[in-house]
């Protein structure tokens, strides 16, 4: 019993918070501002609690397992959620159902915690559903907007579809090997055609969640239609969690079939980078723009995954840490502008630097980090992904990835150009930034600079993987 409390501490703390919110909601009588402050404090405590009393071990016959690496991954997700609660304060305060929103978001986070910790395909499936369905409800949160409902509909349909594929893959695996436990599966895998088919199905389900090309079509519409807090949750937290478990599955479970999935990962990575980048080139809406750019980023994550277990895990986890800061900073700035000025188009950002230097610098840092320009952390993140990918020795693959960095630079610079260079007779007025948004942006900015330069962070990740 004691063991269960220490091992499942992250999940239990999170469940506690969800119930607390539920009771507060039932009791009524709390203003949005106070409520938000409370949630922020709780999430901060949740993040801090993640660093103490951790243990490694397995529960329920290996259905649930946790290691220090998994704890780190959960902490990263908690950090991301905390940042979201800070960055989108404008929107939360206006929202009528804020407690519900956080309950949904934390439920999804709980699902992701179980997802990362799952040691069994059944557990994995349940956790994946738990992490998806609340997000669909969140996407629909702007009840008066048609686009929001449309986004939720698209999201739920496509995830139902991918769940179906996943279940089919799981049943094939069970048929082929007679087990669904992650620890027993590798001994039964020998690369027979049926197993390959199962791998492909499983792979497609992951690809759906990660919006890997050609399973990316839902991404842009859902991202654009959803409230911006949901978009950032989807593109940072969800993607991070799925990438973690995807990596673990490939390296631990499908290790015997590495020669087969290596090619799959490589081809999909190239396709994802190119398509994501090409579509991002022409986007006008900043959310859509970030959606496509995040598709391209997933392509880069796949470059890292194509490597060996240790280098691959380290570089991907490190990259996602960087990505949490950079992408949330970009979304945070976009949200601050959208909340106060109601503008979401890149053209509206023209001359932003004249009136809002702070927002402009944070946005520039975030975009440079996403583009992989030193001294931001994104440079190190991308470079280590490429280095990890290059360890397999495919020059062509790495050249394509490196050239894709140039394409992505082009569109990130387009935004920079709007902000810093283009003249505008009527730039956006000076935006008054909420204190919590400012705090969030500053944490992100500090993260973008420090995570790269402090090399012990990378070594710490490496020591765990």
């Amino acid at each position: 019993m004691d063991e269960m409390f220490t091992l499942m501490k992250p999940e239990l703390v999170l469940t506690g918070i969800i119930f607390l919110l539920l009771f507060i909601k039932l009791g009524k009588g709390m203003k949005n501002e106070t409520m938000l402050l409370l949630v922020q404090v709780l999430l901060l405590l949740n993040f801090i609690a993640g660093f103490f009393f951790n243990a490694e071990g397995r529960l329920f016959d290996g259905m649930y397992l946790t290691t220090n690496m998994i704890v780190l991954q959960k902490n990263m997700l908690s950090l991301g959620v905390y940042l979201i609660s800070l960055l989108f304060a404008d929107w939360f305060k206006k929202s009528e159902h804020m407690p519900e929103f956080f309950m949904l978001m934390l439920s999804a986070l709980l699902g992701m915690f179980f997802l990362i910790s799952s040691g069994n395909l059944l557990m994995f499936f349940l956790a994946l559903e738990l992490s998806t369905i609340p997000v669909a409800a969140m996407a629909n949160f702007e009840l008066d907007k048609k686009r929001s409902s449309e986004a939720a509909m698209k999201m739920i349909l496509s995830s139902a579809f991918s769940s179906g594929i996943l279940l089919f893959g799981i049943s094939l695996i069970y048929g082929a090997t007679g087990t669904i436990s992650f620890s027993e599966l590798p001994q039964h895998l020998d690369g027979s055609p049926l197993q390959i088919l199962a791998l492909v199905f499983l792979f497609s389900a992951f690809a759906f969640k990660l919006s890997v090309v050609p399973f990316h079509l839902w991404t842009a519409d859902v991202y654009e239609g959803s409230p911006i807090a949901v978009t950032s949750f989807l593109s940072v937290i969800s993607k991070g969690a799925v990438a973690f478990i995807f990596m673990a599955t490939l390296y631990k479970v499908f290790q015997p079939m590495q020669a087969i999935w290596y090619n799959l990962v490589m081809i999909l990575s190239i396709a994802t980078m190119i398509i994501g980048n090409l579509f991002a080139l022409r986007q006008q809406n900043i959310k859509r723009f970030l959606a496509f750019s995040s598709i391209a980023q997933v392509g880069f994550i796949l470059v890292g995954i194509s490597s060996n277990a240790v280098e691959g895990t380290t570089s991907v986890v490190y990259f996602i840490l960087v990505y949490v800061f950079s992408n949330l900073a970009a979304f945070g700035v976009a949200a601050a502008i959208a909340a106060k000025a109601g503008r979401e188009n890149i053209d509206d950002y023209k001359g932003l630097y004249q009136t809002n230097p702070f927002l402009s610098w944070v946005l520039a840092l975030a975009l440079f980090s996403l583009a992989g320009i030193p001294p931001t952390a994104g440079f190190f993140g991308k470079l280590f992904l490429l280095t990890a990918g290059a360890s397999k020795g495919s020059y062509l693959f790495i050249i394509i990835a490196a050239l894709n960095m140039i394409i992505s630079l082009y569109y990130y610079l387009r935004v920079i150009r709007s902000v810093f260079m283009d003249k505008n007779e009527q730039p956006l007025e000076k935006i008054k930034i909420e204190p919590s948004v400012k705090l969030g942006l500053m944490i992100c900015g500090a993260g973008i600079i420090l995570v790269g330069l402090l090399s012990w962070i990378y070594d710490y990740v490496q020591s765990l993987s």
Binding site: P374, A390, S391, Y395, I398, I399, M421, S455, D459
Partner: protein, 493 residues
């Protein structure tokens, strides 16, 4: 001397600039920082002489090594040899001149100086790093400041030029990255350390793939034909100090990389591809020279002539003799100083006449004797007048190239020599048209250089003369470095 100072000083200056309240303070801090850089570079030079005089024959002096990302075997490894010292001197000269000539920038002064100093930080870091990873890190640090400098403070089609420059340079560095990764995984030590790598022999097969990647990648920075197209646009759109930094420092990063990384680490690749390098550099020299003939805008004239002059750098490297490589480095220093001065003068003229078209000028010597005299000096330096740095550097490259007895190299050398005639034509024509002839009415009221402009010009002229009149110090500084590269080249497979 502790080399970290060379990185920390610009960093502190940049931070201090950001903290300042008004433009006056910003300029004072930036100037103080740049002046300290200059002093430091001299301290480094004399420290270097002292060490050598004491009989320290280590390849790299003042080495320092700190762990950084030990899981990838990356370390913050710094050190200098004569070549790096020469490049650092050049950087310090150009930086202080650049800071001085930008005295009149009124638009976002703080950001302007911040970016200038950041750019110099990248250059210093690049020249002193002995680990390929941090070398690459600093190479890329220097790109974005250029983009912003051109895009915000530039003129003409600045957005286009800024984009073109950033994308081409980043494209170049992408190739460099792939080349570096190739080297990294080809050696059993899995190391990015330059010194360690130079002792290992990189497999010939890897050299055949990675040498072109690295050489072309770095070559983009130094206007390797046909990747030179960012040069004219970038330089002509940039603000004065931006052009000076671009041509004076940034293009030299590429030359230094071609020599130190590509050629030094991969001698077999260098020998194999020498022919192509020579052909491309001769094309750049001639094409650049002839293209300059057709230009009417002073900035374009200097930009295209930079393509031509940087061709000599690549020619010197491609010829693979000790003298030619020494010449290449000397040409980098000489051209850096000269072209920075040229752009500074063009900026001064433009600020007064508000035109850069040669045809619209005339008789300016009467109104601004100082500026136009400097224009004469720099023009003569560009066309290779003995006594100025351009002659010394180009002559060394030619002498080095002539050491090859085969017809191909001879023909290449002769063709490259021909460009000097063309240079003389365009330089003399442009300078004469600007300086002499009748003075236009609207130019009657123009004033001569102010104190800061004079100081900037004099500092750069001092450098040009120091090389031109007494070239041996530079030669002695650089040639041990090229000697080591030569030794590595002469080892049979």
């Amino acid at each position: 001397m502790n080399l970290l100072v060379l990185i920390l000083l610009p960093l502190l200056t940049a931070v201090a600039v950001l903290l300042m309240r008004n433009a006056k303070q910003v300029k004072a801090v930036a100037l103080a920082g740049a002046a300290t850089q200059l002093v430091l570079s001299f301290v480094l030079l004399f420290g270097y002489y002292k060490e050598r005089a004491r009989g320290n024959t280590a390849q790299m002096l003042f080495e320092q090594q700190y762990n950084w990302f030990p899981s990838w075997h990356i370390s913050f490894h710094l050190g200098v040899d004569g070549i790096s010292v020469a490049m650092i001197l050049l950087t310090a000269f150009v930086v202080i001149a650049g800071v001085l000539v930008s005295w009149n920038v009124t638009k976002m002064t703080k950001e302007f100086y911040f970016l200038l100093i950041l750019l110099s930080l990248g250059a210093y870091g690049f020249f002193i790093s002995l680990d390929l990873f941090i070398l690459f890190f600093f190479l890329e640090i220097a790109v974005i400041p250029k983009y912003l400098l051109i895009g915000i403070w530039g003129s003409g089609k600045k957005e286009y030029s800024a984009n073109k420059l950033a994308l081409m340079l980043m494209g170049g560095s992408a190739l460099v990255l792939v080349g570096l990764l190739g080297i990294y995984f080809s050696n059993t030590a899995h190391s990015f350390d330059l010194i360690q790598l130079s002792k290992l022999n990189i497999p010939v097969q890897t050299q055949m793939i990675c040498f072109p990647l690295l050489f072309v990648g770095f070559g983009v920075f130094t206007a390797l034909f046909p990747f030179h197209t960012w040069v004219p646009d970038g330089h002509s759109s940039a603000p004065t100090a931006g052009s000076m930094f671009l041509a004076g420092i940034s293009m030299k990063l590429g030359g230094y990389g071609c020599l130190r990384v590509a050629t030094y680490l991969m001698p077999e690749g260098a020998k194999e591809y020498a022919t192509i390098v020579i052909v491309l550099s001769v094309i750049a020299i001639l094409y650049g020279a002839f293209a300059t003939m057709m230009q009417k805008d002073l900035k374009y004239i200097n930009a295209y002539s930079s393509v031509s002059h940087c061709g000599f750098v690549l020619l010197g490297i491609g010829m693979l003799t000790k003298t030619s490589m020494t010449g290449a480095v000397m040409q980098m220093v000489s051209h850096g100083l000269m072209t920075a001065l040229f752009f500074a003068i063009i900026g001064m003229i433009y600020e007064r006449t508000h035109t850069r078209q040669v045809s619209e000028m005339g008789g300016l010597l009467k109104r601004m004797p100082f500026i136009i005299s400097v224009l004469f000096i720099v023009g003569l330096c560009s066309l290779g007048l003995p006594g100025l740095s351009g002659f010394v550097a180009e002559m060394t490259v030619f002498m080095g190239s002539w050491q090859h007895p085969d017809t191909f190299s001879r023909v290449a050398t002769v063709l490259a020599c021909l460009s000097i005639v063309v240079t003389a034509v365009y330089i003399l024509r442009a300078v004469a048209k600007t300086a002499m002839g009748p003075l236009k009415e609207e130019f009657e009221t123009l004033t001569d250089a102010t104190w800061n402009e004079k100081l900037a010009a004099l500092i750069l002229i001092a450098g040009i003369l120091a090389i031109g009149i007494a070239p041996s110090w530079l030669n002695d500084l650089v040639s041990p470095g090229s000697e080591i590269i030569m030794q590595k080249l002469s080892i049979p497979k």
